[in-house]
Structure formats: C-alpha cells, structure tokens
C-alpha cells in the first residue's frame, strides 16, 4: 500500500520530464534557428555588401588625412547642416500630424475611418517620382497654385513636402499600431479618479505611446537624411548630403566619396540604436494578459476636431495623387490640356512598360511572401526570448537598413555579389537577389511595426504557456499571430507596396529580363516623357491599391474570427 503512492510520486515527474526536455529543445531550435536564419540573411544581404562598399572608403585620396579634410571642410559642414535641418523639419511636420491622424483612427468615433486610413496609405503605393511630378504641376513655375510658394517650390519647401508625403504613412503605421492596443482599466482608473481628458492623455496615453513616437521620429529622420530621390528632382539649389553622394557616384563615378558619405549617414541610425537600447530599459505600460480593450467614449467636440484634422491631412495627400493621375491623362502639359490616353501606350515609349510591370509584381509578391514571416517571427523571438549578445547583434543589424542610402546599398551589392570570387555570384542579375535586397531595404519599418505591436503584449502569455508546457512555436502560432494579425497584414502590405515602388538600390541590380516598373518611371521622366512617367506611376499606384483591397477582403474573415477579444469587454 505504501509503495504505491511512493512509486507514483516518483513516476509522476519522471514521465513528463522527457517531454519537457523535448519542448525545451524545440523551443531552443525554434528561437535560435529563426534568429540564426535572420542573422545569416542580414550578414549576406546587408553587412557584407556594406563592408564591400565601405571598403572603397580607403580609396579616398590621401587616406585618413583625405577623409578628415573632407569631413572638416566648410562645404561638408554646410551640407550636413542642410541635411539635419530638412530632416528635423520633416520629423516636426510628419510625426505630430501622423499622431493626430493615428489618434483619430484609434481613439475616436469619427465616421469614414476606413476611407481615411486607405487614403493615408496612398503615398506608400506611389513611386516617389509621382509626388515630385504632382508638386511641380501644383506649385512649380507653371503650377496651378504657384502663388502658394512665391520663392518657388524648388528647394527646401519642395524637399520638405516631398519627404513629408513619402514618410507620413510609415510614421502612421507605427503610431496606429501603438495606439491600437491600450488597457481600458487604466483609462477607467484615470476617469474614476476625476482626471480630465488632457490629464488622462498625459498620464496614460502618452507613456503608452512615447516609445512609438520615438521610433517613428527616428525612422522619419533617417529615411529623410538618406533619401536622394526627392532632393535630386525637386531640391533645386538646396543641397543635402545624400544628393552629394548621388553626385559623387552617378555624376563623377567617385565611389570612394559616395561610400564615405554613406558611412557618415549611418551615424543617425547608430544613435537611434543606442537610444532604443536605453529606452527598452524604461519600457512603460504594456497590455497585460488581463487587459480589456480600451474603447474611447464618445465625445462630440473631440471627434469634430479630429475629423477636421484627419480630413484635412487626407485631402492634402489625396490631392497630390489625383494631380499626378490627372497629369497622366493630359496630352502635353501645360500647352495642350486636352484629354488623352496616349501616355498609357507604353509600346511607343519604349515597350518595356509591361514586362517591367510584370517583373515588379513578381518581385513585390515574393518580397512580401518571404519577408513577412521571417521578419515577424524574428521580431517576436527578439521580444520574447533572451539570447544575450546575439540579440544585441541582431537588433543592431535590424536598425541598419534604414540608414543605408539606397544608392550605397545597390553599389555594395554590385561590389559584393559580382566579385569574381563570390560563390553567390550566380544570383547577380536575378530576381532572388532583388528580393533579398528589398527585404533588407524595408526591414526596419516592418520590424518596427511588428515590434511595436508585440511589445504591447505582456510576457505573461509566454509564462503561462511555459507553465502549461506548450512549445513556444505553438504559443506563437496559436496566440500571438492571431492577436497580431492586423500588424502582420500591415507588414505584408508594406513590403509589397514598397517593393513595387523601390528604385534606388535596385537600379544597379536588374538585368535585361528583370527590368522594373519603378525604374522605368524614372527613365521615362528622365527622357522627357513626363506624361508616360505619370501614367506608369499611376498604374503602379492602382495595382498596389487593388492588392491592398484584396488583402483587406481576404483578411476580413480572419479578423472577425480572431479579433473578437478586442471588442468583447472582459
């Protein structure tokens, strides 16, 4: 009699032990495996090409002295000042607007949210040439609203508006996802303690979203400072560092100088990385597993103000797009304003239009299909598992892509993958390399969106599943992915539309069979076919919009299933 309970108490832990070990092993395999895959991708697709490019810095005339001479020259400091000024101005313009817009989306009862949100995504779907064309048609020397900018659009204001248009959706993406998750209990507490609207915002909303505001600011700043496409087209005499890199590489084939400027432009991203690491220690309020979804109460005054603000922003974005689409339907602007579809006949303007269009679709589809699971899973593992220095390395590598000017990255790919000794040389000119390049280029914003969503989930979910001995992969698949489905879809859409419109790095990578639509837009504009450029850009925009709608329809069913918890109060 007495032996039985004894035997059982021994047998009891003995039986699950292998299973637990097995689960732990699986967890480790899952966590380490995905992280390792990501590191390999980042090393091959980012670090090594970057090193190959930065290796060119040593070819700067007079070595270190030459570098110092360049960096301390008054010209460089002037360019740096211009770059910082226009980038900070863009942050100051974009982030508050995006915050208000995101707030209107997530914390109000305004009508037409879906429409507003869709409009806000349009800039992402258009090649940057589209906004440049629109700005010139609107505010250029022949522009319809020329009087708005008496000093002309070319210069600081042109760059600022172009960058603001382009960066708005990216900042918004992060902020919407941050404002989307909030713990209703905190708001209830705040209200029951008699706090007014403003106090609640300062004490509850702001601490919960300040990380996202910081992340969005860093993103906008680094994207602006490294982008050369907008300044080259609409910058006039206002010169910035990224444009200097363009001049060195494309104008004078001085790769060493381009590489030097490229490496200087990495600095802001490294600073953001340091601050990010510091902020992670200050991690503020999160959504705990007992969180109830916060639904803002109705408030007519607040909603009216938010509707007006969001409506005005959406109208501004929409009008730029409509002007560009209009431009594609005009015979010869500004001298023959009759309606014409001739710009859509890509056969006469070179015939690469349709091939390029198909290639772009393939590239965008593959980038989104391959990139989304890798980026999202890796972001999850970086948040929920600890890997010591390895995580630090991964985090740093994930911050880098947004800091590398596309031109520098593209040349790095040429130097690295086209090196005679590189066993991966066969990928050169193929679509696989272009997919890799796109995943790398757009990694940072995608990863930030994923991280922002994941950071608001409390670790208790993992703790609970651990105590239930559920493998991490199962928890991820059955709990986290469904909860984060909106953010996951956002990442997918972002990767797709960005790859459709990307030019700067890919311009060096395509081969005769893999020409791309966005590159064709650039070339059409350059060869004076502004109408055809606007037409192809509009076509890209339309495609991305349709794909987004399709994605939305497909996902709606899934969302109804998985997002019940959001609306149901506990």
């Amino acid at each position: 009699m007495s032996s039985l309970p004894y035997a059982r108490s021994v047998a009891q832990p003995a039986q699950p032990a292998p299973r637990r070990a097995q689960a732990a092993l699986l967890d480790a395999l899952f966590a380490r495996g995905v992280k390792l895959l990501m590191v390999v991708l980042l090393v091959v697709g980012l670090a090594l090409p970057l090193i190959a490019m930065l290796g060119k810095v040593v070819e700067v005339q007079n070595g270190l002295a030459g570098v110092w001479q360049f960096v301390s020259s008054s010209r460089f400091l002037w360019l740096l000042g211009n770059s910082v000024k226009v980038s900070l101005s863009t942050v100051a313009l974009v982030v508050p607007l995006a915050y208000v817009f995101a707030y209107a989306m997530q914390r109000s009862w305004i009508p037409g949210k879906r429409l507003l949100r869709s409009i806000s995504l349009l800039p992402l779907m258009a090649p940057s040439m589209l906004s440049a064309i629109a700005l010139i048609y609107l505010f250029g020397n022949q522009g319809m609203l020329k009087s708005w900018f008496p000093d002309g659009i070319y210069g600081f204001s042109g760059i600022l508006l172009g960058q603001a248009f382009y960066n708005f959706p990216m900042a918004l993406m992060i902020l919407v996802s941050a404002l989307g998750l909030a713990d209703a209990r905190l708001y209830d507490a705040s209200v029951s303690m008699g706090a007014n609207h403003w106090k609640t915002f300062v004490n509850v909303t702001w601490p919960g979203t300040r990380y996202a505001v910081f992340a969005a600011s860093c993103l906008v700043f680094t994207q602006t400072i490294t982008n050369f496409g907008i300044p080259v087209v609409i910058g006039g005499d206002y010169q910035v560092l990224a444009m200097e890199a363009y001049k060195s590489v494309v104008g004078q084939q001085k790769f060493s100088e381009g590489a030097l400027i490229g490496s200087i432009l990495l600095v802001p991203a490294l600073i953001s990385f340091a601050v990010d690491a510091w902020m992670r220690r200050l991690r503020g309020s999160q959504v705990s597993s007992q969180a109830a979804t916060y639904v803002a109460p109705r408030n007519r005054v607040r909603d009216t103000v938010l509707l007006l603000a969001a409506g005005a922003i959406a109208l501004a974005l929409l009008s730029l797009v409509l002007v560009a689409v209009g431009a594609s339907l005009i015979n010869f602007w500004p001298y023959d304003l009759s309606f014409s579809l001739r710009h859509y006949d890509f056969e006469t303007s070179g015939g690469v239009g349709w091939l390029a269009y198909r290639n772009s679709l393939t590239l965008a589809g593959l980038t989104a299909l391959i990139g989304t699971p890798i980026i999202f899973t890796c972001a999850y593992l970086m948040e929920k598992t600890r890997g010591g220095w390895f995580d630090g390395l991964l985090r740093l590598l994930c911050m880098l892509p947004m800091a590398v000017p596309g031109l520098v990255m593209g040349l790095g790919y040429v130097f690295f993958f086209n090196h005679p000794g590189n066993p991966l040389g066969g990928m050169y000119g193929g679509i696989a390399l272009m997919v890799l390049c796109c995943v790398m280029r757009f990694l940072t914003p995608a990863q930030m969106t994923a991280t922002t969503a994941l950071r608001q989930l409390n670790d208790e979910i993992e703790a609970a599943s651990l105590s239930l001995k559920v493998p991490l992969a199962t928890t991820y698949w059955r709990v986290t992915v469904p909860i984060c489905l909106p953010a996951l879809l956002e990442v997918f859409r972002y990767l797709f539309v960005s790859s459709m419109t990307s030019v700067s790095a890919l311009i060096f990578l395509y081969s005769p069979d893999t020409v791309l639509a966005a590159v064709a837009v650039l070339n059409l504009d350059d060869s004076g076919n502004v109408g055809a450029a606007a037409a192809l850009a509009s076509l890209i925009l339309l495609t991305s919009a349709l794909v987004s709608v399709a994605l939305y329809l497909i996902s709606r069913g899934l969302l109804v299933h998985t997002q019940h918890w959001r609306s149901a109060r506990v």
Partner: protein
C-alpha cells in the same frame, strides 16, 4: 495563395537553371540610347546574325557608367553600344576596353573616333550641346531668342536658364569643357561667372533642362540637342538654338569590353554598328553622324549644324575633369545666394 506559391516555386527553381538559350550566343549590350530606338537596332542586327541575341541593359548615362565601373573586376557587359564617348573614355582609362578596328573604320570621320590604332571606341552619332528655348514662354515673358552663348549672359535672362550641374551630369561637364575650349581658360570662366548669375537652377540630369524648357518650368535650357528633337516631336513649343561660337558635343559610341566570353559575337556587333545598314537606322535619331555622307537634315533642327561642331579631345577632357569640376564647384555649386 496557390498561384503565389507556384510563382515562388518557379522562381526558386529558375535560380539553378541556366536560362534556356534560343540563340547560340546571348550578347549583353550596355546602352544609354533611348528605349524607342533599341527595338529597331536589335531587330536589324538579329536578322543579319540569327545565332546572336542582343540583351539590352539600358539606363541613363550616369547609372550605366557607374554600373560598368562598379562591375570592373567581373564585367557583365560584352559590348557598349550607344554610350557617350566622355564616359567610354573613362573605361578606356581603366583598361576595361578591348581595342578593335571594325570593318569600315576608314570611312568614320576621324573627329568621331578614338585616336589610337586600333581604336578603343568608335562613334556612331553626334549630339551637340545646344540651347532649348520655349518659344511660347519666351513670347509671354518678352524674352528675345538668344543666338550665341554670350547672349545668355544678358541680364534679361536672369533666373530663366537651367543647365545640368557638371558634378552630376556628363552633359553638364561636356558644356563646361566646350566653353573652356572655345573661349579659352580665362574668358571661359568669366563667361560662366556671368552665366551663373542668370541660372535659375542646376539640374542633376543632362536632359532635364530641355524637358523643363519644354514644360515651361524655365524658358531656356542648356542640353544635348537630340532631346530637344524628341520633345518637339511630342508637341513641345521648342526652338533649338545652335550658338554661333561653336557647339560642344558628345559622341554615341560603340566599344568592346575586355575579357568578354563572347568576343567574336561582340566584334560582329561592332562591325554592324559602323555599317551602312546601321547608319541608315541612325539617321532619324541624330543630326550628325560619324559617317558624314549619311547626314540628312532633320526637320526639327536648324541648318548650319555640322560646321559649328568643335573637335573634342576626350582623353584630355577626361584628364582635366577633376580639376575643372573642383574649380566649378568652388565657384557655383552651393552656398549660392538665392536669386
């Protein structure tokens, strides 16, 4: 979803498989010629050599030049066909070109080929630095039509002129180089000082000034001539001015890449590029050709074209480029007062 997976699988598979070759030889040709022109050249060449297929890599001059130089250690191009001599000369300096005397070389005007024997590059067509004037805007803004470079320095044109920044664009440097050659060092810089006061914007693309003139953004653009011809054909109210002092120029050239695995096919292409058949194809696309007997007057182009072309020493222009650019940038590039 299944379709997407199929595409994915197909693409993954295609990485490993060397693309199925229809012709025996695939010739990779790097070019900056207009897309519209490429199809005709390809068709004619492939009809003559059915076993060779042309694969174009086409982009703007700056990008193609940067790509060629970046690929220097492991060249992907077999031939360059239709890239400006100022760029091709850079490849020559880097030792990337295979010297070759194509059949019919003796008929090429000596001004429009590399001076070495055998030459590193041979010209097809010539493009001159000209002035694009928007006649409609000039009338509206009461601007006289200029006839010479010197005219452009008159105060009436203040803020009305655009030209390519020579630090960003080969066309821009081509213009600066021509001024220094025509006017001499001292007068050339004095001219540019005065011109600078009238410049509304320095663009980063060689063809943009003419495009901007066509759209009326700025009434006057300094650019290569053929873009003006194209834009006029599209309906732009442009007038092409060939300044009386002389025209700087660049030459669309053909050259072989050293180390090409398809050298024999590449040579056939260069032979073709300077053949009578090719020159007949070039006719509508250039006002002056490297074989002058094929020159026909383009309806869009004023008379007195060929006589005004100067002779450019591309090796010399390349050698002094860095010094000229440094001086140019110190004077005009940046920190410019808002006009």
């Amino acid at each position: 979803m299944t379709k997407a997976w199929k595409t994915l699988a197909a693409t993954v598979l295609s990485f490993g498989v060397i693309s199925t070759v229809m012709a025996d030889t695939e010739l990779t040709v790097y070019t900056a010629m207009e897309n519209e022109q490429l199809a005709g050249y390809k068709k004619a060449f492939e009809a003559k050599y059915p076993d060779i297929e042309i694969k174009w890599v086409r982009d703007s001059t700056g990008i193609i030049t940067a790509k060629l130089l970046a690929e220097k250690d492991n060249p992907r191009a077999d031939v360059i066909w239709g890239l400006y001599a100022s760029s091709v000369a850079l490849m020559g300096k880097e030792g990337m070109l295979e010297a070759y005397a194509p059949a019919g070389l003796d008929k090429i005007d000596a001004k429009f080929r590399d001076t070495r024997t055998p030459p590193l590059w041979v010209g097809n067509g010539v493009e001159a630095t000209a002035i694009c004037v928007n006649a409609a805007e000039a009338k509206k803004q009461n601007l006289p039509i200029p006839t010479s470079w010197e005219d452009l320095t008159k105060p009436v044109y203040q803020g009305k002129i655009v030209m390519p920044n020579p630090a960003s664009s080969g066309t821009g440097y081509s213009a600066v180089n021509a001024w220094l050659q025509i006017m001499g060092e001292e007068k050339g810089w004095a001219f540019m000082d005065k011109l600078h006061a009238n410049i509304g914007q320095y663009t980063h693309s060689g063809s943009k000034p003419c495009t901007q003139a066509a759209m009326g953004e700025y009434p006057i653009g300094i650019s290569l001539d053929f873009r003006a011809v194209t834009l006029k054909r599209q309906g732009a109210p442009l007038e092409i001015v060939l300044p009386t002092e002389g025209l700087g120029l660049d030459i669309n050239s053909v050259a072989l890449i050293k180390g090409s695995k398809n050298l024999e096919a590449a040579k056939k292409l260069e032979d073709f590029a300077v053949s009578e058949q090719a020159f007949l194809l070039y006719q509508p696309n250039a006002a002056a050709l490297a074989r002058p007997e094929f020159n026909v007057k383009l309806a869009e182009m004023p008379e007195a074209y060929y006589d005004r072309l100067i002779t450019v020493d591309f090796d010399k222009a390349g050698a002094q480029r860095a010094a000229v650019l440094e001086k140019w940038r110190a004077r005009y590039d940046g920190k410019s007062e808002k006009k």
